[in-house]
């Protein structure tokens, strides 16, 4: 029989026994046994999900079971298992926060709410929030967090402002087109509130830099538009113990939830993998660039996301943890679903298998199915045109885009490509283009997969790149 040493604070649940002999083969089994024999002890050993509490350290002999096999660590009959409570604490940093006269005037309407007050405003100023993506959701999110007085706001975005962003990304004006988003965002936010600090990362968030960037922040707000990044942000948040305020939008529908929230009793709320254990098949859920989005929708959903970030930071109200909020702008209906933690969650379920960040492109199947299509550069196309090479040119954009500017291609909008496939040659090369290359690549994959085409070329960078490449020649 192994001996379990009970720490003083838990002895009142074991009838003051300091040492108990337990018949168990592993550490996990010994704790289960204790919980059965002393029911009052259970909630001090396990959290609501049946996980061993994070504030307990376990030693077999002199060795920390974290360095062994955690709950599966075997217990020899003569082994001693010591339960050691973690003893830690400290002061709340926000109590040190003070405000200038200008700040007090600016935040007055927050401070005078009785449930909010100066204390919540201090917590906001002491807080550090990382916003991933400064697009449709990131725009209202960043504007409201900055206006509310969140002391440090980090922004990760690799993109540049494009004309097609302005219909919904209200952080940017016409003058910002062409600029890196983080540069334009910083300028706008600093003009809005000079009392806060903006930190920018002009980079793609990936498995190599995510832990490093996220570790500097208290709360992460995910406003990205793709599944690999969503899983990446989620996993990094769970591994680092950060709360992830999540939102997503598609066409007319938006979702909001708060993941990996730490309840006052120390329990962790569900995360993205409890809601979506596996990513959807690639291509099933199109991005905004492919499927479009009603411009005001990210404004609504991103504002809700900002609201949840502020609630999490200040502890005011009940955060949307364990619940998924869904809004349908077409019917103006809302629904709220319960989300529970899953035992098979690979991050923090019963048997965690993910202990570091993985390759999320591969996990989401993006790499596998989104195989590269054959490409032609604008320069090569110009050369074909100049030398009179035989080829067919097809434009898969929408008619109004075609009206605005075209390069003499046949117009077959993406949605009608398959039914119009008979119009495509199978003998000579067919160059397919759209605005920037995403929709035409999709068209080519469908034509190749469904109808066995072998002579299709995607115009790299689309009509935008072509016009850019053609310009000097026109000028010259």
């Amino acid at each position: 029989m192994a001996t379990v040493i009970i720490p003083t604070p838990l002895r009142k649940f074991t009838h003051n026994a300091a040492r108990l002999d337990i018949q168990a083969a592993t550490v996990g089994e010994a704790l289960q046994r204790l919980a059965t024999d002393y029911p009052e002890l259970k909630k001090h050993l396990f959290d609501e999900q049946g996980q061993i509490r994070t504030f307990l350290n376990l030693f077999v002999g002199e060795d920390d079971v974290r360095d062994l096999q955690w709950a599966d660590t075997p217990l020899a009959p003569e082994a001693t298992l010591s339960i050691v409570p973690a003893i830690a604490g400290g002061v709340d940093q926000w109590r040190e926060v003070t405000f200038s006269k200008e700040e007090l005037a600016r935040y007055n309407r927050h401070i005078i709410i009785p449930e909010f007050g100066l204390e919540a405003q201090q917590k906001l100023k002491a807080a550090r929030v990382l916003v991933v993506g400064s697009g449709g959701l990131g725009s209202p999110l960043l504007l409201y967090l900055a206006a509310a007085g969140v002391g440090t706001i980090g922004i990760v975005d690799f993109d540049r402002v494009d004309d097609s962003n302005l219909q919904r990304q209200v952080l940017f004006g016409t003058d910002a087109v062409g600029q890196p988003k983080v540069v334009a965002a910083r300028r706008r936010l600093e003009a809005l509130n000079p009392h806060i600090r903006i930190v920018t990362y002009d980079a793609v968030l990936n498995s190599r830099n995510a832990l490093d960037i996220l570790s500097d922040y208290d709360v992460v707000a995910d406003g990205t538009d793709n599944f690999p990044t969503r899983y990446l942000v989620n996993d990094a948040c769970v591994l680092l113990g950060k709360t992830n305020v999540y939102a997503s939008i598609f066409q007319f529908e938006g979702q909001v939830s708060v993941f990996n929230y730490r309840y006052p009793n120390g329990e962790w709320g569900p995360n993205y993998r409890d809601l979506y254990p596996t990513p959807p098949p690639p291509g099933l859920v199109p991005s905004c660039a492919e499927g479009g989005v009603l411009g005001v929708l990210p404004g609504i959903i991103g504002s809700m996301q900002a609201c949840e970030v502020i609630k999490v930071l200040t502890g005011v109200g009940e955060p949307l943890s364990g619940r998924l909020f869904v809004f349908d702008a077409l019917t103006f209906e809302t629904r709220t679903f319960r989300v529970k933690r899953r035992e098979d969650n690979p991050l923090n379920g019963k048997n965690p298998t993910i202990t570091e960040l993985i390759d999320y492109e591969q996990f989401c199947g993006v790499k596998v199915v989104e195989r590269p299509v054959r490409e032609i550069t604008p320069q090569e196309l110009l050369h074909w045109q100049a030398t009179g090479q035989a080829f067919q040119l097809v434009d898969v954009r929408e008619p109004h885009e075609y009206e605005q500017v075209n390069i003499g291609a046949e117009l077959i909008p993406l949605a009608t490509v398959l039914e119009n496939a008979h119009r495509l040659s199978r003998e000579i090369p067919v160059v397919v283009h759209c605005r920037s290359g995403a929709r035409s690549a999709k068209a080519i994959r469908e034509l190749e997969d469904r109808l066995g085409f072998h002579n299709l070329y995607n115009l790299k960078g689309g009509i935008l790149a072509y016009l850019e490449a053609a310009k000097p020649e026109v000028a010259g």
């Binding site: 720490p7 003083t8 003893i87 002061v91 040190e96 006052p264």
Partner: protein, 146 residues
């Protein structure tokens, strides 16, 4: 009620002042009678094992915890609580203190303002995991009335 012997109280305040501006921490030992009155007779000063910001955080290493349990065992005392300091902050438990708190233990916080010991208050977790203040009494003699 938590009764401090003069010696224990003095040592605790001295540790809090000497460690300023960092947080100090240690264990409080003694006996508890059947009326739930706690008489502190011994104190163990422990290293703040927190890596990083020791001005705002403290952490006690597992080996130091086990040493305290052994110390109590050998002298027939009870490990009754933990003390730590709040440099330039009130002697009120923070959210961090509450999350990590254990049942049964008395959590004594010494507020140190600009290097001088200020308020000393003790807190215990109730069944809802909220802190309730526990009155402190400083004894005049070293004799424990148990």
């Amino acid at each position: 009620m938590l009764y401090f012997s003069p010696q224990t109280y003095r040592c605790m305040l001295a540790d809090a002042v000497q460690t300023f501006p960092d947080e100090c921490c240690g264990f409080l030992l003694g006996v508890e009678n059947d009326k739930g009155e706690r008489y502190l007779t011994d104190l163990l000063i422990v290293n703040n094992a927190k890596e990083g910001d020791k001005r705002r955080r403290f952490e006690i290493a597992s080996k130091d915890y086990l040493r305290a349990e052994r110390y109590a065992d050998e002298r027939d005392l009870t490990l009754l609580g933990v003390y730590h300091s709040h440099p330039n902050h009130p002697a009120v438990p923070s959210e961090h203190d509450r999350l990590a708190a254990q049942p049964f233990f008395s959590y004594v916080i010494v507020s140190v303002l600009d290097g001088r010991a200020d308020a000393v208050r003790s807190w215990r977790l109730n069944d809802e995991r909220h802190f309730e203040e526990e009155p402190i009494h400083l004894q005049q003699t070293e004799v424990s009335p148990c």
